[in-house]
């Protein structure tokens, strides 16, 4: 930071390590469970250290597929999840950022109404409106398609709200200066606002990608063709054994594998979290 305070640094590390331990503990459990036979997990006897069944399980899942659950190949499901997550991320960010721009930087009739109409989407979870939404999707022939998987999930206000908050913090001077320079609305948006929004876009990309990646109920309903199954449906299918016990080691291995793409997104997006970029010229 600004000065050198080694004790505070040390404390910071302690806090962070504790934080990671607490927050990542369940993930660690998942990893450990994937390396022990399923029965050990169920008996509660799984020790806290990984077992030696580890690589076997992962190799199985990756190369031979999950022959015991009848799901389509892992790769196909990951691909579907990937497409879905990317479309949702990009789609949501694009429509939200321009909507937020309109709401903050313009005055026009029904402005507040538009904002609240968008905002209210936060308040009715998809599970409640699922039957009517499904009907609409069916009527628009969106079943069993990427459009059907993604469009209904793009309509939500999180990103719009975030961008609105961010835009409100941008100093008026920037906009005045742009106007004085003769820049139009879209030029201002493209040349000034967008670069400034980089950090927020990065954060949103991570969150939205993961959001799209872990969707379960809506894809379940809207796809009856196994070709469109997402990875989470595959995982759930491994666990939904009525009256029997799931193979937890397989399930957890799939869970860990399924977490890799989001992790890659996190790592990649961090490049945009560059310190010192945003403020100086404010």
């Amino acid at each position: 930071m600004v000065e050198n305070r080694p004790f505070l640094d040390f404390l910071t590390h302690v806090v962070l390590i504790l934080g990671v331990a607490v927050v990542a503990f369940p993930v660690y459990i998942a990893f450990v469970a994937s390396t022990h036979p399923s029965s050990t997990f169920l008996r509660g006897a799984a020790p806290l250290l990984p077992g030696n069944a580890g690589w076997e399980v992962y190799r199985n899942m990756l190369f031979e597929g999950v022959s015991t659950s009848g799901t389509p190949p892992l790769a196909r499901m990951m691909w579907n999840s990937l497409v879905m997550a990317v479309i949702i991320t990009v789609g949501k960010i694009v429509i939200s950022i321009i909507s937020a721009y309109a709401i903050v930087y313009f005055r026009f009739p029904f402005r507040a109404l538009a904002f609240w109409m968008i905002f209210v989407t936060l308040m009715l979870p998809v599970e409640v409106r699922i039957i009517p939404t499904f009907q609409i999707a069916a009527n628009l022939s969106l079943l069993n398609s990427y459009a059907g998987l993604t469009l209904p999930l793009i309509a939500s206000a999180t990103a719009t709200f975030l961008f609105r908050q961010f835009f409100l913090t941008i100093p008026e001077e920037l906009m005045e200066a742009a106007r004085v320079d003769g820049a139009g609305a879209m030029k201002f948006f493209k040349d000034i606002l967008l670069p400034l929004s980089r950090t927020n876009i990065a954060a949103l990309s991570v969150i939205l990608f993961i959001y799209g990646w872990v969707q379960y109920l809506w894809p379940l309903l809207v796809t009856t063709d196994p070709q469109y199954y997402t990875i989470v449906m595959g995982i759930k299918r491994l666990t939904a054994v009525a009256d029997a016990e799931p193979q937890w080691n397989l399930v957890m291995a799939t869970v860990i594998l399924a977490m890799l793409p989001p992790v890659l997104v996190v790592i990649f997006m961090q490049r945009l979290f560059v310190k010192g970029l945003v403020e100086t010229e404010k």
């Binding site: 930071m1 505070l8 640094d9 910071t12 590390h13 962070l16 990671v20 369940p26 993930v27 509660g44 694009v94 429509i95 939200s96 909507s99 309109a102 930087y105 313009f106 005055r107 968008i118 989407t121 936060l122 308040m123 009715l124 979870p125 599970e127 409640v128 409106r129 009517p132 939404t133 469009l151 793009i154 309509a155 719009t160 709200f161 975030l162 908050q165 961010f166 409100l168 913090t169 106007r179 139009g184 609305a185 879209m186 950090t199 954060a203 969150i207 993961i210 872990v214 379960y216 759930k236 666990t239 399930v251 992790v263 996190v266 961090q270 979290f273 010192g276 945003v278 403020e279 100086t280």
Partner: protein, 294 residues
């Protein structure tokens, strides 16, 4: 509602910019939501063969049901606890990461990564850690003399679901706090340091106020999350029990709608829930947003 003083003069452009989101919102959200609201005034069989218009009967039933009122109070406790817990822990972690220069990437990755654990398995992981018979943490708690059985103890059940729900949100809040902290100008911090302010003082007088737009955003989102998106966790961990101790409003909506297939009652409950949250949101915008420094 706050707004900028300086605006662009364009007339048609704002509508064009809003159009995509509004269209998707109307088609895939408002219209189905309206239909769901219509359901709340009907009594219908699941397949839709026989539908009777019953006015406010569903609502009357709900409001006179003591179970519903209990649910409302459990929800208040739950939502407040989850929001406070997940936001404060996330803020602490974000500030810590922000202090460091070198290891921040690793810590950030490690702290955001758990968010990618799909909700379908999060429940099982929690069961594995906490269930009274074979859970690891249950075992450790017994070691410390705590008689852990959330299957019969309502307070323990509430603690469990609060922990489980907060856990997921910590990663989320953390990420946005980190992003928000990025936009606090270093120049201000440095100036304050030169003036002799210590790190804690700098935080409370400069960083925290400047972070308020993000904090406000997260507050709304977290309360929303706690009120609307947590039925999956409750279903996986306690199923609303024991004896209704964790039967929060949205879980009731889910249980009555998806499990019980009582579309009329569940729609009425969601309308009520929506009204409650809209009211809360309105209050927040009205009274809390004043304190936000833009």
């Amino acid at each position: 509602m706050q707004t900028k003083r300086a605006v662009f003069p364009n007339r048609g452009l704002p509508y064009a910019l809003l159009a995509p989101q509004l269209i998707v919102t109307i088609v895939f959200f408002l219209w189905p939501a309206f239909q769901a609201a219509m359901f709340s005034f009907e009594r219908t069989d699941p397949f839709g063969f026989r539908t009777t218009f019953v006015w406010f009967q569903n609502y009357e039933r709900l409001l006179s049901d003591p179970g519903y009122l209990n649910s409302a109070s459990q929800t208040a406790i739950f939502a407040t606890s989850v929001t406070l817990l997940s936001m404060s822990v996330a803020l602490l972690l974000a500030v810590s990461v922000n202090r460091l220069l070198r290891s921040s990437r690793i810590y950030t990755t490690l702290l955001v990564w758990p968010y990618a654990v799909a909700p379908v398995v999060a429940g099982v992981l929690w069961w594995f850690m906490f269930n009274p018979t074979v859970g690891i943490l249950a075992y450790m708690l017994e070691f410390f003399g705590v008689r852990w059985n959330y299957r019969s103890n309502g307070d323990q059940a509430m603690i469990m679901v609060v922990l489980a729900a907060s856990w997921k949100q910590i990663s989320y809040n953390f990420l946005f706090f980190v992003a928000g902290l990025q936009s606090v100008p270093r120049s201000l911090i440095e100036a304050a340091a030169i003036d002799g302010a210590g790190p804690f003082k700098r935080f409370w007088t400069i960083t925290f106020p400047l972070l308020s737009p993000t904090t406000f955003f997260l507050m709304i989102i977290n309360i929303n999350y706690a009120m609307f998106d947590t039925f999956g966790i409750i279903d996986a961990v306690t199923s609303g029990g024991p004896n209704q101790a964790t039967n929060i409003l949205v879980y009731k909506v889910y249980a009555d709608g998806v499990l019980g297939l009582n579309i009329g009652s569940s729609s009425a409950q969601s309308v009520l829930l929506m009204v409650i949250v809209m009211f809360l949101t309105f209050i927040q915008f009205r009274f809390v947003e004043r304190r936000v420094n833009y």
